[in-house]
Amino acid sequence: MGDSQYSFSLTTFSPSGKLVQIEHALTAVGSGQTSLGIKAANGVVIATEKKLPSILVDETSVQKIQTLTPNIGVVYSGMGPDSRVLVRKSRKQAEQYYRLYKEPIPVTQLVRETATVMQEFTQSGGVRPFGVSLLVAGFDDKGPQLYQVDPSGSYFSWKASAMGKNVSNAKTFLEKRYTDDMELDDAVHTAILTLKEGFEGQISSKNIEIGVIGSNKIFKVLTPSEIEDYLQEVE
């Protein structure tokens, strides 16, 4: 592959016009655990698999879905430690925005600032791109919103999206199931069914995580018992 000569340095374009390191970062994301998001008419749901390396790991100590502001939450696919750094930076940026303008940061602004950080790491010396793609779910005065941010720093708004291992199957499933006038509860059921599609083993409230934001504009990570209720409705 002629590209391989240009794959060692992040800041060098290959002859085919690609930055090969970013392609590799997307591959890292693609081999991460599946996560997805669905925008309903009155809210947004994001969900992910929570496959732990061993049954001895205390699953209550692991939380993949994080709150950035009271009305914005995020989930990732890819390298967990990288996502922690981004979450920390995003929270600080949201707080700085609030201090300057005394209004809660709009979802698009926070996504843009996070994407800017990720882009900076593709054009600086001595650093590597983040090995995560983020799904940001928020509800502000422009309504419910769902954004995906990639390691390159590009971001897209989605009605429904998936990332990680099972992305193509999940997206096909979502394309078939998605309707514009979906309610939040339907969206949660659809999210669970989508996760179930490519799930290895038995799905349960201990190996998936779901975060929702409804018209009350408060982002909430569901407790295992709440997930259990939804799972029963789906069976």
Binding site: T67, R88, R91, K92, E95, Q96, Y98, R99
Partner: protein
């Protein structure tokens, strides 16, 4: 970034020596108090902000939000108390996200005191910090240079002596909510009426485990009493009473003496 830039201080000193009168800053003359009662903490403050001898704000808010379970009263330079409480409140919020836990009063205390100490007293904020966290109710005072005290009842500001005299004579441990509010209102009123730098209304904030009540303008002991019922009306025309015209330039009579100059 780091730190305050002291570059203009020398230039300011030079200007003062040359005779320029430095503009004064808005101070909160102030009476602020706090006390611990049976179920938590009660904070109280007056609402007058002064600029020298002038009342700049008759109803300002001196009880600042730090966290859902922590509030802070501020005396001293108004801008300093606002900025420092805002900044520490931001930092506490980020800390809550990272730890997933409720903020502790000692955390707020340590942030405030280390900030004030690093500015060596130039940030003139004297604070009464109170709150209830998982370890119980706490009340602290913070001085502009960064020292702190932990007390069952505290007063700060120019009206602190008036308020402290009320506390020292009437404070008891384990008061009920109503007794505590009554005592705080009495202490602030004492500052309002006996100290020129304090005035207007009484604000109170009651913090208990899991709940806080911000009682803005709990007492209004200084209402505007006399307002003319008829209102004021001014006639559109100004009546001419008297006319006098003074020319600005004197009319001078020139008397020619002697011959015109002969070359």
């Amino acid at each position: 970034m780091g730190g305050f830039s002291f570059d203009l201080c020398k230039r300011n000193e030079m200007l003062v020596q040359k005779g320029l009168k430095q503009p004064s800053f808005l101070k909160t003359g102030t009476t602020i108090v706090g006390l611990i009662f049976r179920d938590g903490v009660i904070l109280g403050a007056d609402t007058r902000a002064t600029e020298g001898p002038i009342v700049a704000d008759k109803n300002c808010e001196k009880i600042h939000y730090m966290a859902p379970n922590i509030y802070c009263c501020g005396a001293g330079t108004a801008a300093d108390t606002e900025a420092v409480t805002d900044m520490v409140s931001s930092q506490l919020k980020l800390h809550r996200y990272h730890t997933g836990r409720e903020s502790k009063v000692v955390t707020a205390l340590t942030h405030l005191k280390s900030h004030l100490f690093s500015y060596q007293g130039h940030v003139q904020a004297a604070l009464v910090l109170g709150g209830v966290d998982m370890t119980g109710p706490h009340l602290h005072t913070i001085y502009p240079h960064g020292s702190t005290d932990t007390l069952p009842f505290a007063t700060m500001g120019s009206g602190s002596l008036a308020a402290m005299s009320v506390f020292e004579s009437k404070y008891r441990e384990g008061m009920s909510r109503d007794e505590g509010i009554k005592l705080v209102a009495e202490a602030i009123s004492s500052g309002i009426f006996n100290d020129l730098g304090s005035g207007s209304n009484v604000d109170i904030c009651v913090i208990t485990k899991g709940k806080r009540e911000y009682l803005r303008n709990y007492l209004l002991p200084n209402p505007r009493m006399y307002i003319s019922e008829k209102g004021y009306s001014f006639s559109k025309k100004t009546e001419v009473l008297f006319t006098k015209i003074t020319p600005l330039r004197e009319v001078v009579e020139v008397i020619e003496v002697g011959d015109a100059m002969e070359e």
